[in-house]
């Protein structure tokens, strides 16, 4: 069975909007996986803090029901995650100094993709996704926001090599698929209105998708 890795941003979007039960159906199509670090951030750390407990319990249920699996990086891939982090954080220079973009969590998620040879990464936050898919696009965006920034071509090439072949989607695509396949039928009636509401719900939970994208997709549904 193919594997799909979710990072903390996508787990947050999906669970926050009560779509975690869609994992029951999705897990029959692919193994849904999170790194141990994401389990810690999403469940262990927030459980017991009243404000965050409900969401943590939802994600814990998904693990208990085995709709979702949590995997620890092996020493070899933990080393890879450190290399990914260091390389990524040397890709851009501001005033000749490295611009630190990503943390351990993002790097470990990318390393896990390689460890289990996963087919797809579900990531909702924009900047890491652009680092994977479109580093030049990220540079343009950063230039627009902060001014002069240069790419360290050697690091950019090395990063490309380390994370080559990683395909990315977002929680909107996962929800769109779940909707198509009927995995949200218990929560929502099957209508365009429901689909639109579901997509906007994850958008407002922080998924990096624009209104234009959602409307364009719905036009063709």
């Amino acid at each position: 069975m193919n594997s799909i890795v979710l990072d903390s941003s996508s787990i947050i979007s999906i669970s926050e909007k009560c779509f975690i039960k869609s994992f029951a159906g999705l897990s029959k199509k692919a193994e849904l996986v999170i790194p141990k670090k994401v389990e810690f951030e999403s469940i262990i750390k927030p459980i017991g803090i009243k404000e965050f407990e409900l969401n943590a319990l939802r994600i814990r249920m998904a693990l208990k029901e085995q709709w979702l699996k949590s995997i620890q990086l092996t020493p070899e891939f933990l080393q890879l995650s450190v290399k990914i982090k260091d390389t990524a954080n040397n890709c851009f220079l501001v005033d000749q100094k490295p611009f630190v973009l990503i943390q351990d969590g993002e790097a470990e998620t990318l390393a896990l993709m390689k460890q289990i040879n996963a087919s797809m990464l579900v990531i909702d936050e924009r900047n890491t996704r652009m680092l994977i898919e479109d580093i030049q696009g990220l540079k343009s965006y950063l230039e627009h926001k902060i001014g002069k920034i240069t790419i360290n071509e050697k690091s950019a090439l090395e990063l490309k090599r380390l994370i080559s072949g990683i395909k990315v989607c977002r929680s909107v695509e996962l929800i769109a698929l779940a909707f198509e396949q009927g995995f949200l039928d218990e929560e929502l009636e099957k209508s365009k209105e429901s689909l639109e509401a579901a997509l906007y719900a994850v958008k407002f939970s922080g998924c990096a998708v624009s209104e234009q994208e959602i409307q364009e997709y719905l036009r063709n549904v």
Partner: protein
């Protein structure tokens, strides 16, 4: 670099003392940008303090509360102490003094404010969202400011940030790729 940092902390202190709320807000924006670009935890902490003080001191009911007068004195004394320590190159204890200032801000907020969720917590989310807008990953923005990722995601979700960036692949294409990946 150190002189610039001291200058910024002095400016923060003076703006707070003279009740220049918008200057505090402006300062918080400048500091978080610098913190994001240089991965500077100390500046991120300064930005949080500046923003929290801006939010608190902008509220009439806070300014009129006698507990606020007491808190102001304490906060100013910790800021002064931090400045003195920075002048001696003692970053560790200067940070400790800033944390003491944060303690007084949080205490004043919980005693005077009308909301269950403190201003300092909200400031973390706000500053983290600024850091994210400067290109930091969710994790890095959250780490730099101490913000909670879930709060940060929710906050980002209601901004127009994601309308700004260009679209690389749309939903249809990514959905096609996802289906392809599952059937491979």
């Amino acid at each position: 670099m150190l002189q610039k940092l001291i200058g910024e902390l002095v400016e923060l202190r003076q703006s707070f003392k003279k009740e220049k709320q918008f200057k505090l807000k402006e300062l918080s924006s400048e500091l978080i940008e610098q913190a994001a670009l240089t991965n500077d935890y100390f500046k991120a902490l300064m930005s949080l303090i500046a923003y929290s003080l801006y939010k608190l001191s902008s509220k009439t009911h806070v300014r009129k509360n006698p507990k606020w007068k007491l808190a102001r004195t304490e906060i100013l004394s910790h800021l002064d102490a931090a400045i003195g320590l920075l002048e001696k190159h003692d970053f560790r204890n200067a940070e400790e003094e800033l944390r003491n200032a944060v303690g007084h801000i949080s205490r004043a907020d919980s005693e005077i404010s009308n909301y269950a969720k403190g201003i300092f917590e909200k400031s973390k989310t706000k500053m983290a969202s600024s850091a994210y807008s400067f290109g930091l990953s969710l994790g890095q923005a959250a780490w730099l400011t101490g913000a909670d990722k879930k709060d940060l995601m929710n906050y980002i979700g209601i901004t127009k940030m994601h309308e700004e960036a260009g679209v690389s692949l749309g939903i249809s294409e990514r959905l096609k790729n996802l289906k392809g990946a599952l059937s491979a």
